[in-house]
Symmetry: C2
Subunit: 125 residues, 2 copies
Amino acid sequence: MIELNFDKAGGLVPAITQDYTTGEILMLAYMNQEAFDATLASGKATYYSRSRQTLWIKGETSGNVQRVKEIRVDCDNDTVLIKVDQLGGAACHTGHRSCFYKKIETGSIRVIGEPWFDPAEVYNK
Amino acid sequence: MIELNFDKAGGLVPAITQDYTTGEILMLAYMNQEAFDATLASGKATYYSRSRQTLWIKGETSGNVQRVKEIRVDCDNDTVLIKVDQLGGAACHTGHRSCFYKKIETGSIRVIGEPWFDPAEVYNK
């Protein structure tokens, strides 16, 4: 039985999502127990949306589903690391491959790379 | 000026720490504004300890300092990714290189790898 510690963050654990081949960090989101169980059962990364307060199967709108290849748990069971196959090439709702497309350079922020898709075409259909 | 959004998690943002050469995820911790500023100013990863409620310069006890090589910010400015050179070879207080040394396998948890150091020798001196 897998017992995560959801108590430290109000019923949630942060979930780091990493490309299972390149090691690139794609995004960070949150899971509650239900989202974690759904991820294990379905093999598709499923998060809890704090803004919408509901389960969120990643890619259900955009088609950019994340197939789970491996799940790691940290030392004190309050964070998970999800290694995935990112379908559609991009994880971020902005169209970028990774949500971490902004790099800090001597106090300013520079955008790294170009979006893979146009969010206006993928969402708001 | 770098404006992170600390409002979503009570004055904190999660900080993912990644080995800058291998891409391995070493740990996840939290930063408040002061910890983030200290990280930028010192070049050493500095977190906010939720349990001790104080700034925490990683490695100040163990010697396993993290030299910051690059900082990324995510799309909505509420998570940071810190790419580091991990001194001493191990980030986790258990002695493992990474805090994510437990792998979920068909519903159970398996420990991956051996500790690099013995915590009893490094801490509690």
